[in-house]
Symmetry: C2
C-alpha cells in the first residue's frame, strides 16, 4: 500500500482544468471595420474570433474566473457555481462584465484584485454582490483546493499575474504585462510552472513595446524560465496577421484561442 | 397637382423608424442569480430578456444610435452604416459597447454627448475612432435629414434626452431621468412629440425614487404633456413583476421590449 505522502507525490498530475474563455487584445478580433486578413477570417469563421482575455479554472472542488471582460459571464458561470474571481487589473476590457453581474442576487462573490483604489468607473463604489479584496503580490491565498499566488506584472496600472498550484502542479497566468519585473522572474525561477499563459499582444518588433509583450519578449521569458509549455494570449490582429504570413513560434510555444482547454 | 408645401404637410408621417435595441435598467433582466417571476420568465424565454437601454433610429438618409450599452454594436451597425451616436450620459450601462468599438478602423464616428469631462473610465482619453462632441441642451443639431435637440434631464450626472424631428414628426427619447426639469417640460409643451420613449425603471412607489422614474411619475409626465403614445423603457425586474402581478398602464402608455420597432 502506498504511503499517503507517496500517493500525494504520484498525484502531481494536472487536475486543474483551465479554459481560455477569451484571448484578445483590447478591441477584440475582428476589430470593427477592419479588413485585414485576420479580421476578415474572423468575420467569416467565428472559430477565429477573439474576445476579451480571460480564463476559467476548474478543479474538483472549485471554479475560479480570471478576469471579467466577457459580457455573458452568467452563461460561463451559472449562479452559485463561481467560487471566486481573480482580477489581473482594472482596465475596462478585464472588468466590463462585472458592471451587470454586480446587481445580481445571492451570496457575495469574492473578487481578489490588485490594490488600485481608482478601480474602474463606479465599480468599487457600487459593488453590489461583489466583495472586492485587494491582495499583495507574492502573498499566497489558500482557496478550497489550490493555492493562488499573485505575481507583480509591468503594465500601465497595478496588475497581477497569478500562479495557481494544486497538488504540485503549477499554472502561471501572466497578462497584461510587458516583460516581467525582477522579483517575479526570481519567484518563478524558484517555483517553475508546468504551464504558462503569457501576454503576447504583438508580433516581433524593432521598438520595445509599451504595456504588452511582443513575441520576442514572450519567447525570451519562455526560454529564460525553461517552461515546457507556453500558451500565448491577449492576441492582436497584428499578431494573427504575422502568423498568417508564415511567422513561426519557438519550440514549446503555442498560440491560444478562445475556448481552448488546457 | 399638390403644391410643394402642401405635399410637405401631407408627408408629416412617421418616416423615422426607431427600434428599441435594449430596454433594461442597470443589471438587465434577468438579474444574475435572481429567482423572481420576471427573471425566471426571462431565463426560460429570451423574448422577455432586457439588455442595456438603447435605440436605433433609421431614416431613408441616415442611421443613428442612441446609447451604446450593447456589446454587439457591430451586428446592429455594420461598419460604415452608422452616421452618428447620441449619448444620453456616461454611466457604464450606456457606453460599455464603445470600449471595443473605439479601436476599430475607418472614418471617425461623431458621438454627440453631454458636456461631462469625467466621461467613463478612459473613454474620452483614448477615443480611437470616436469623435466626442459635447453639446448643450436645447441647441438643435442639424443632421442629414433630421433635427436632433438635446433636452436636459434629471439624473445623477449630466444627462440628455433627445427630440428627433423629421418632416414635422417628433419622437422624444427621455432616459435616464427622474421627473423632468421645468425647462424641458416647457420646451416639450411648445414642441409636443408624436411619440415619447420614457424612463420608467420602477413600479409605483410611495417614496419618491432617485435617478429614475417610477410609473406614477412617468404617467404624470405622459398626461401633463398630452402625449398620444408613450413607450416605457429602462425597465427593472421590479417593474416587470408589478405588471405580471396584474398592474395596469394608463391609456396611451405601452411597455417597451427589446427589439420593439416603432
Amino acid at each position: 500500500m502506498l504511503k499517503p505522502d507517496t500517493h500525494y507525490q504520484m498525484s502531481a498530475v494536472p487536475d486543474i482544468e483551465m479554459t481560455l474563455t477569451g484571448t484578445a487584445a483590447a478591441g477584440g478580433v475582428p476589430l470593427y471595420g477592419c479588413d485585414c486578413p485576420a479580421c476578415l477570417r474572423a468575420v467569416r469563421n467565428p472559430a477565429y474570433r477573439r474576445r476579451a482575455t480571460s480564463a476559467k479554472v476548474k478543479t474538483k472542488s472549485e471554479t475560479l474566473c480570471i478576469d471579467c471582460g466577457l459580457m455573458n459571464l452568467a452563461e460561463h458561470y451559472p449562479p452559485g457555481s463561481l467560487d471566486a474571481i481573480l482580477l489581473t487589473h482594472f482596465h475596462v476590457d478585464h472588468v466590463q462584465g462585472l458592471f451587470e453581474l454586480r446587481w445580481g442576487k445571492g451570496q457575495k462573490i469574492p473578487v481578489y484584485c490588485p490594490n488600485d483604489p481608482a478601480g474602474c468607473a463606479d465599480l468599487l463604489k457600487h459593488s453590489g454582490i461583489l466583495d472586492f479584496r485587494p491582495i499583495q503580490p507574492f502573498e499566497p491565498l489558500l482557496l478550497k483546493s489550490c493555492t493562488v499566488t499573485p505575481l507583480l506584472l509591468m503594465h500601465s496600472r497595478p496588475c497581477h499575474g497569478y500562479l495557481i498550484e494544486r497538488r504540485g502542479y503549477r499554472i502561471a497566468y501572466l497578462t497584461d504585462t510587458v516583460g516581467l519585473p525582477d522579483e517575479t522572474l526570481l519567484w518563478l525561477t524558484q517555483h517553475t510552472p508546468d504551464m504558462m499563459i503569457l501576454d503576447c499582444s504583438h508580433p516581433p518588433s524593432e521598438n520595445k513595446p509599451r504595456n504588452h509583450n511582443d513575441l520576442s519578449i514572450a519567447t525570451e521569458i519562455h526560454q529564460q524560465l525553461g517552461i515546457k509549455h507556453t500558451i500565448l494570449t491577449h492576441i492582436s490582429h497584428d499578431m494573427d496577421n504575422w502568423l498568417i504570413a508564415g511567422g513561426q513560434l519557438a519550440e514549446g510555444i503555442e498560440l491560444g484561442h478562445d475556448g481552448m482547454t488546457l
